[in-house]
Every structure is written in C-alpha cells, then in structure tokens.
Symmetry: C2
Amino acid sequence: MQRNILTRLLSSPCPRLQRYKSVSLTSEQYPNLKRGDFARLQDSDVQTFTRILGSGNVLTQPDDVEGYNTDWLRTVRGQTRCVLKPKDTEQVSEILSYCNERRIAVCPQGGNTGLVGGSVPVFDEVVLSTSQMNKILNIDLDSSTVVAQSGVVLEALDTELSQYGLMVPIDLGAKGSCHIGGNVATNAGGLRLLRYGSLHGSVLGIEAVMADGQVLDCLNTLKKDNTGYDLKQLFIGSEGTLGVITKVALALPPRPKSINLAYLSLKSFADVATVFRRSRADLGEILSSCEFIDKECMKCVTENLNLSNPLGQSEFYMLIETSGSNPTHDEEKLNNFLENMLAEEIVSDGTVATAPSKQKEIWQLRERIAESLLVDGYCYKYDISLPLSVFYQAVLDMRQRLGDRVVTRCGGFGHLGDGNLHLNITTPNYDQEVMDLIEPFLYEWTSKYRGSISAEHGLGFKKRNFIGFSKSAPAVMLMKKIKQEMDPHGILNPYKVLPDF
Amino acid sequence: MQRNILTRLLSSPCPRLQRYKSVSLTSEQYPNLKRGDFARLQDSDVQTFTRILGSGNVLTQPDDVEGYNTDWLRTVRGQTRCVLKPKDTEQVSEILSYCNERRIAVCPQGGNTGLVGGSVPVFDEVVLSTSQMNKILNIDLDSSTVVAQSGVVLEALDTELSQYGLMVPIDLGAKGSCHIGGNVATNAGGLRLLRYGSLHGSVLGIEAVMADGQVLDCLNTLKKDNTGYDLKQLFIGSEGTLGVITKVALALPPRPKSINLAYLSLKSFADVATVFRRSRADLGEILSSCEFIDKECMKCVTENLNLSNPLGQSEFYMLIETSGSNPTHDEEKLNNFLENMLAEEIVSDGTVATAPSKQKEIWQLRERIAESLLVDGYCYKYDISLPLSVFYQAVLDMRQRLGDRVVTRCGGFGHLGDGNLHLNITTPNYDQEVMDLIEPFLYEWTSKYRGSISAEHGLGFKKRNFIGFSKSAPAVMLMKKIKQEMDPHGILNPYKVLPDF
C-alpha cells in the first residue's frame, strides 16, 4: 500500500531524480549534526563490493541510489553514493567484515517504509538493502513455523502461508512493501498485536550478521529454549544498530476460518473506551483487532483519498474485528455484543462486514489514513502509548495548545486495544513554530503519564534524542554499553536509536 | 505443590539439619570445580547486612540457612552461612552495592523450585531471598496489567487476580511455592504456553537491581514501547546472573468463563501426534493446553503417589484443555472434535471433566509426575525441545541405550503442544554408569535434530557446560561479554548459566 502511494505521490512529470530533490538533505536540516569519523567511499571499495556481490548488485548511479536516500514520509534525505544488494548471509558477512575493517558506515534498509528516518542514510552511509534476500526457506506444518530470509515482503509471506492455513502474526498498512526482517528489526506492531502479541513473543529465531561480519546463528524454530540469554531479543527493535538480520523464524497462528468486521460510529471517547472494555469481555478469545478513528482523521482519509464512509458523520469510529474457527459461534458472539451496545445506546450506528471485499473497503478507511495525511503537505507524526484513562486527552490538549494557529488538522487514530495512539498534525509546509509548540510539549505530556514516546515506530533518526522521556539514564547507559560491545566502531546505522549526548 | 512434597519427603524423625545433610555438598560432588576469587564472609559483613535489613531479616544460624542451600530435587547442596531477606528495591540495591564493593558472591533465590541447581549456592555465596518482597503493587483493569514485587507466589497472584476476572498467563506444578520473579528470571514455561505464549511476550516491564546496586527501571505497563533496546528481555531467562529482579509488570489475559478438560487414552505416539494436530485445527482459539503422558510415567504417578487413573491401562494418555468465553460454544467444539477422534479410532477411550474438582484430580496425574519420580530414589531429569517428527523417539532411543541395565524407569511426559519433552530416568541411588550412558549421548541426540537441551528448566548449575549443544560459539561469546559488562566482578549467581570454559 505504501509503495503504491509513494509511486502515486511521485508521479509528477519532472525527471525521477528531481522529485527526490524536493526533500531537503538531512545534513542541511540539521546543520549542527556532525558526520562520524567514518571512511569516505573510494573506488577501491566499490570494486571490492562488486567482487563480492557481482556488478548488478552494486548501485552507484545517482539515479539508481536516490530512492534509497529518502524516507517514505519525505522528511529526511541522505547522500549515499552506493547501494549494496546481497543475496545471502555470506555476502552480508563479507560486506560487513570489509566495512568494519575500513570503518565504512552502513545503513541497513528493508522496504524503506519506516516513519522515523531510521531506514535511510543521514550522511553518506552505504545502504545495505535486503531486497534480494527474499526467499522463504522452510514452512513446517507440524510446528507451525516459517523460516525466511529477511527481505521477504510481509504480504508475500502471508500469501504463501495462506495456502497452508497459516498466517503471519503481524499485519500493517505497509504490508505490500515492508520486509519481514525490517518488521523484526523495528519490532513492528500493527493491527493485530492485541490478539497475537508482540514480535518478542512470535519471533522464534534470528540469524544476524554482527558488525565485524561474524554470523550469529540464533535461528531456532523451537517454541521453548532456555539455554542462556535470549540474544535474539536484542535485535528485535534495535533498528539495524546491533547487527543485520539475515533470517527470521516465526511461530505462526492458524489462519482463522471466520473473520467478521464491525464498523461503528460513536458520540464520545468515553463510549469508545466502553466499547473496547466490553468487546474484550464479550468477544474474548475471538477479538482480533480494536481500532479507532476520530472525526478529523476520517475527514482526511475520505476527502484526501476520495474514499466513501458507509456511516454518517460522527465524532468517533471504531473497527472491531473477530477471527475464529467457527463462523456460527463467532457471528453469535459478535451479534450479541453489538445488540447490547446498540440497545444501551453506547454505539450510534454500525455495520458488520463478512465478505472479504467489503472488509477490505472498510479497512482502507483505517489503513490509508497515514497516506491521506501526506496529501495535506507536511505531517508531524506521533506514535505514543498511553493509559486508556488519558488516551484521547493527548489530542484534545494538543489542539488546545495549537490554538488559533493555522494547522490543517490535528487528529488521532490507532490501536486502541493496545493503548497506542497515532497523533498527527498537518500543515501545508514544514513550520518551525508549529514544531516548537509540539515538541517537547507532547513528549513531556506523555512522560507525565509514564507513556511511551514511540509505541511502535521506533526512535530511528528523528526521535533518538527524546529517548530520555521514556527511558531512565541507567537504561540508556546500558544500551550504549551493549552497542559499544557489539559494534565497537559504530558502523551500523549510525545516528539512529541512541541519543547524541 | 512442590513445597508440600518437600515437606513430606523430609518428614523423617531425624533432626531438621540432619535431613539436608543426606545430600552431598556440591563442592564434594564436583571436586574439580574451583571457588571463585570472592571475599569470605566476615562478621563485619553480617553487621552491615543487619544494619540494612534489620536483624530478623539476616539469617546466620545453621538450622535457619540450611533449607536455602539444598535444591528441591535434593541433588546439589551449597554452604551459605548467610541468608538475606530484603523487603524492597532500596534494600536490594544497598546489599548489592555493598557486596559488589566487597566482592561477596550472591545467589538470588525465589521459591527454590528450580530443577537445574540454579537457585542454591554452589559454595558459600550469600543467599538473597525474595520471599519478603511479596506485595502486589497495582492491578489495572483498563489495561489488564499487574505490577508486583518479585517475591509474590505465583498461585497467590493468580488467586488475587481471579477476583477481577483476570489470570496470570503462566501456570506450573510448583505454583504454590514459586515466585513470579523467579518465573521471570528463569523464563518459566508451564502448562499453558501453547495458548498464552512465553514470558518474553507477557512481561511488559521489569525493575531490576544491577550488580553494582544501580536500579534499572524498565517497569513499563504499556503493551507497546519501541524506545531503544528492549533491555528487560535480557533478564528474562538470565537466572539471576545479570541482575536481581525486584518488580515485574505482566499483561494479563481475561480469566476464561468456561474450562473443559478432556482426558484421553491412545495406543501409539503416532495417534498422540494426530490428536495434537487435529485439536489445533478443530479447537482453534479455545485450545489452552495439550499435554501427554506415557505408560511409564502414568505408572509412576499412580503407584508412587497412590492416585487413581480413571481410564484403563494404555500406552499413552493426553490432557486437552479448552478455555473460552462461551460454555455452549466451547462444549460444542470439544464434543465435535472428540466424537470425530473416537469415530476414527484415533483415541481409544476418553472422559471430559467440566467440574473444577474433577479437573483438578485429572491434572494431578500430570502435575505430580515430577514429585512421583523422586519417590523412586534418584532422578536423572531432562527437559528438551524437539520437532514433533522425532519427539518420542528420544525416549525409545534412550531406553534402547540403557538396555538391560537396571534402571527403575525411563519415561516421557510433557508439553506436547510446545514440542517440550520431559524425559526422566530413575534409579534407587545415583549411579555414575547410568549417568555416563545418558550424558552426553542425549545432548548429542537432541543437538542432531536442532532441539534445545533445556526447553524450560534453564541451564543453572547442572547444565551450563552443555550450552554448546544448543548455542553456537559466537552466541556464547556474546553472552559472556554481556555478563562481563553488566556484572564485571561476577558476583551475581556465579557458576550458573555460562560455561566454565
């Protein structure tokens, strides 16, 4: 989906290169940020890369590399002059061993769908793309596990698994472009974490190449293994700063035989919270997603992308999905629940979609909000975890703070069931005064409620210096020690995750 | 439960101290193992501990400390002369800060129900017991989370949560004695991992005190938080070697409104595997446990503990539990499934228990096997993860290898649904020749199938030197570096988890 919008947004008549140039270079946006003491790329380096990978897999033409320099949100732009496309672990190992020796900085990149500038170079880091490591290696039906190279596209993996009655336990809007290795490296959350849990539980094994080229084989497909520290966990959510994930093994849930999607409109956020609590109690084990959208975000996705909303105008909307093994049982549970919600006037209006095509239409209203916000111009994007009691207050307080200042919109949507709010503000162009009203105000606000300033997007480049709002100084210090131990020369995705100071 | 049997086994007429003395000292059993270069306890140390904790919380009388020296299996025995019982994080911090400065080795201990000698001292390490840190600090109904001190007993926590319609996502035979902090420190698996996943997914936050006394606050109660490396994961399964867990936050599933337990007898292991596959497909989201017991283990638990088996003699038995939100739906699913299994003659005989008291009786046949094996005399205990295709072959090959040698029994039981086999061999007394037939044969066998030599029990003291059968040399090297970074003087639970060489 994100790849589609990228193509669409960029389909202007100007030459391909020109389109990317409209995004300012990160080094110009952050003039105080110093380039690390890394080697600058020499012709001899490119020759070595070519020897390792073959000439077709080393991109150096400006036209070819520019797409790897700019993030999907078009907010940051690096200056790499070289993109490497290894096919297997051995090639990744050879590349990193060489780069570590030469002190060449490396930016690992999956589908480049990240939202915090973590997947593109900041300066001239060499990009290591996982796009050619795209093989599904093994599907085990007995243990319901899959082993795949890290560059397999999430949707392609799920489609393959569907043939065996299995599914990938994560799903997100970027599924058509994002790589499973990138999902693991960023600990992607998505639409069904409520049901299937986080990747810290679903990932059974990881093979990663360390900064010095050493291959770390933690590629377990066992559900249980208590032999020493669970090293693979360190890589989940490390955003390519501790090693390059080359293979992953996942535990797979059975693909549900019955899926229902209820789409509801509601008058107040108090009602939204009530519906969530009741859905959890009444739908129990078949509840698979609980999402919400406010009026501002619904207006954005329908108007900017010309989508139609089957329910009338309302303050709030919810998507409640059930997934189960018995269609009759599931429908009965869902119908009972909805009848109660309507009878008690907690829900204003609603519709239930059972046909996959109809469900897809409704899901677009939720999944394409991120895309629709970009049409407004510049998007100030926040992704916070909060207790339910203050969940929507973040949007209200932000609106009040912005006051009369002309922003295009300030709205919220997201994974209510996981306590994860996507708060977005848009303006026609980047506006420093708006930014100064948002940051650090919103981080301080979030920190006050012991929330997380990045629920699922990660810290990447853009949020790294705000880590202190969610993590204590001793915790950050320990992270730095681990980074130093695993990547002593700091060549792996520099300027990301850990703060500058 | 394990506390009960400990009391029962030890209720001989001899003086209390005498009973423990029947277990040989670990230092005598392993004469080649050298005590680390730690300080020996001085009177001044005890005085300092007393100042920090108050005199009632520092045990130094031989009678008082001996229970903390011997493991539940009665296979190892340390020589601590001092047991510390802090009440809060600050006291733990003061103690560790002092011990680190003085280079006094510390053995953290929860309920002392571990099975690999990880929870008792090897030499004279000071025991730090979490037994007085037993407060439930907060239960949040909105987010379905609990925050508790690490010394809360698992069953007590679950009982408290039951009042709110919530449950702890783990359950195991030792629930009456084990501490939640110990469960997290050892990454306990148990009976319902199949349904609720591992603690790497369920633990939302940890507060731990590092070796130098620094408090690491990762005590999140958020479902999602991607701000830097997920440090808490390092502590899950580290067996007290990286820090002392003082508080944990858990995500809690709703307590099921309906629980059914099917108890089945089967002719062959092929049938057992078929029933597992079919139960996963047919029971789907309500399947909460899938356990198996072989004839040998059933004989042991019924004869040694005088329990009755409601089904006739058979080669294999299974316990299949469902947990759901709608009793009618659940019963219908389970009945359909069982009717098919009986009609297809995959299951020989079966009974379904819906009453909790009846379910408890049946669960005893599974949960008390570990206890019954001890009645035989000495138990050689193994806990391995294997692919389903070779799962029971491990028992058959072990029996063949033992051949005519007189062992009391060699049998298997365990968490079939998680690929986790508990393989046990018993003899009247410890027999080195039997041991030499088992080890390293069984580890090599397991390694050949990329299994885990410790699925859920951990490595502790007894299995640490076999880590190489499940983990690569670079992985072990990285673990050692992390240990060195987090506990530079090695005072935390020495001689555990990491190999000597």
